[in-house]
Structure formats: C-alpha cells, structure tokens
Amino acid sequence: MHAINYEAPKTLKDAVALLAQHGEKGRPLCGGTDLIIQLRAGVRRPDFVVDVKKITELTHLSYDAKKGLRLGAAVPAIEVCENHDLKRHYPGLVEAAHLIGSNQIQTRASVGGNLCNGSPAADTTPALIALGARARVAGPKGEREVKVEDFCTAPGRTVLAPGELLVEILVDAPKPHSADAYLRFIPRNEMDIAVVGVGSWLHLDGDKVSAARISLGAVAATPLFAAKASESLVGKKLDDAAIDRAAKLAIEQSSPIDDMRGTAEFRRHLVGVLTKRTLHIAAERARKA
C-alpha cells in the first residue's frame, strides 16, 4: 500500500472540513473492506484516509415506530443483522446485509459503505431502493437528501461530490401490511458477488396492492428501481398473472451483460425468477405484518 495519512475526526463538522480540504486526495474509511483492498491494488490512491467511525451520527442505529430507521453510514452489517427491530420490520434489508461476504466481512463492512462503493452488484442497495430509502449527505455546502435509487451513477461512482460524505440512511416506518424481501443468485453458497439480486417491497390492502417497489441489482450499470414493473402491480389483485406481468416488465428494464459470472440471457431469466419469488415472500410477510 502507498503511504497514507490517517485522520480520525470526532465530529461530522470536522470530517466534512477535512474531506473538503483534501478533495480528491481524501477518502472516508468505514469498515475498510472495500477501501483497504483498493488501496493495496492502487485502484484508489488517496493521500488522506479519514476514519469516520468516531462520529456519533455515522455509528448511530435506531428504529422508531413513527420515524422509522436511521442507519449510520459506518454501522457494521452485523449490527443490522442482529437488531431485533430491523429483523422484524425490514427483514429484506437484514437478509441483504447478511449476504454480504462472510461473518468476518460483516463484522466491519457497513451498509453505507456498500452503497458508497457504488458497485452495480451491491447487495444492500436494491433492498434499500425497494424500501424507498433516502441518503443523508453532508458536505461543505451543507446537507442534502438523495433517494438511494439516484445515489449510484455508474460502476464505482456515486453522486457524492469531493468533500461530501454519507452520514446516514433513512427509511420510513413500515406501514401496516407492508413488507420487504431480498434474494440473490450466486453460483456457490456464500462469498460470491451477486449474479442477480432483487429486492421487493409491497404494501397490501386486502388482496390488492396499494404500493409496490421492485429493485434490481447486478443487471445494469447501477442498481435499478424497476418503476414500470412496480407500477404494474398498484391497484391490482396480487395473483399469479399480476406477478408474472411484473416479472416480465422487470426483465425488460434490466440490461445485464455477459461476464464470467453469467450470460445476459441467464441473468434476464434470473430477474424473472427472483422478482416472482421476492414478491411472494414480501406478500406473505405483508399479510402477517
């Protein structure tokens, strides 16, 4: 690894000031499970590594029945997975966080870091998009909120401008009879990058769908919000025909590539399968919620 300077600011204000000062030469450090690898490979070469794990807003995790979820950018995935409220109210997000790497990776890697790394195949991003999550960003010009579905702009790239930092991820409190689900296809059982990942969220009113959100991962340059597929379900009875139609529309919105993990044709097939399965799981959970 090239020589780096390490700083560990204790306040958000200090972190923003440091990152603004360093610009392209600075990079925030959360769990390090992406950044340290990138530093070793020379893919990123910041002079300054700004450890943000001492900042309360970034390590804060709370659930409130009215205000919903506040997930600090540096909270390790394992804390998401072990949190009783999150398991109950956002099981899809917990499922996604628990699929990241291994236990060792989850001890350090954060959902916020997963988002900021900007991989099209990030596991937790489609789960967040399905929940309609928002990203709270702080920077030298102040704070702003960005919808998670707008956060990633290209492989490895996000809307974060130099000096900006993800503070936390916000998700609304779940409505009654709503629930999420996330499934990923990988060739092995663990430790693989998603070939396809799908996150679905449904809000039911009896046997009709009040609202739906389907999100696709690893089948485009960024994780996607499948708007047409989601809208196709609204106001309809959630039967096989509706689910099939949503799956077909999800496939149409995807634009997977052939690579060593799978062909585009296989990935389109998986989008259909995982969309149907996650809709079924979300529906069953929503009925009980």
């Binding site: 690894m1 340290i36 590594v49 790497g101 291994s102 001890t107 059982n189 663990e190």
Partner: protein, 161 residues
C-alpha cells in the same frame, strides 16, 4: 499523519502498545511488528480468512483493518487460545479429528469457530458451515473441520476462556 504512531490496544487480554505506519494492516502489525505469526497471510482481500482474528468478540479479517484502527479495541488471536500447555477444546478436537494438513488455514478457522461458539454455543452443522464460509481450506475438504467444531461445541468449548 504518515509517520509512525503509537497505538494502545488489548491483545489476548494483555494491554499492548505498538508503533506502526498508517498503511500497515493489523495483520502486518501482528506478524511483523509484534512477532505474533500465528495469524496468516493468504489473500489480502478478505476472501480466504487465514488472517482471521476476533475483534471485540466478532471474527474479522485482520488484513482489512489498519493497525492504527486497533486503538481501544480488544483483539484475540490464535496465540491466546491455549492456556499454557492446555489446549483450547477447539484445538484439541482439531487434532483428534485430523482437521488440518498443512495448517495454514487453521489459525483462521480456530478463531472463526471460537467466535461462532462464543455467540452460539450449540450450532447445527449447517450453522457451522455458514459461519465458517469466510475461511478457505485447500487441503482437508472441510468435513473434518466441521466435525471438530461440532465435537468442540458438545464438549462445552464456548465456556472456555
């Protein structure tokens, strides 16, 4: 700053201080600065788990943490498993079950398994396999490792220090 800094931490129950540059990983510090060569370097990308240590009770890859980040944390390494000449039940069961050949993955597996049993004293076989998914072994084919962890859990390994 990029020059060496003093880091205070607790390793295997002992308060320790070391000097390191920011670019040195915890693995490098353990092996090259502290001479604790039990933790192994396998991939340096967090895939193989050979460098696994326990940080504040949870397994993690020491190659993916900077030495400077260790300040104020509690670290357990394979060197801390045996109490003098008394082996930890996991170590004992690994030997009895021939769960190692070249042994390079073994420290990582032991720490991963200890972290599992400390949280879940009686895991099922499936839970063991999933918990150890972050550790790779080229020699044994994993079965004997899983068996050793199962036996260690039945021998009350989670109660060992």
């Amino acid at each position: 700053m990029d020059h060496k800094t003093v880091v205070e931490t607790t390793i295997n129950g002992e308060r320790m201080e070391f000097l390191c540059e920011p670019r040195q990983s915890l693995l490098e510090v353990l092996r090259d600065v502290l001479g604790m060569t039990g933790s192994k370097e396998g991939c340096l990308t967090g895939d193989c788990g050979a460098c696994s240590v326990i940080l504040d009770g949870r397994a993690m890859c020491s190659c993916l943490m900077l030495g400077v980040e260790a300040a104020g944390h509690k670290i357990e390494t394979v060197e801390g498993l045996a109490q003098g000449s008394k082996l930890h039940p996991l170590q004992q069961k690994f030997l009895e079950n021939a769960s190692l050949q070249c042994g390079i993955c073994t420290p990582g597996f032991l720490m991963s398994a200890k972290a599992l049993l400390d949280h879940n004293p009686h895991p099922t076989e499936a839970e063991i396999r999933y918990a150890l998914a972050g550790n790779l072994c080229r020699c044994t084919g994993y079965d004997k490792i899983v068996h050793a962890v199962l036996e260690a859990s039945k021998a009350g390994a989670s109660k060992a220090a």
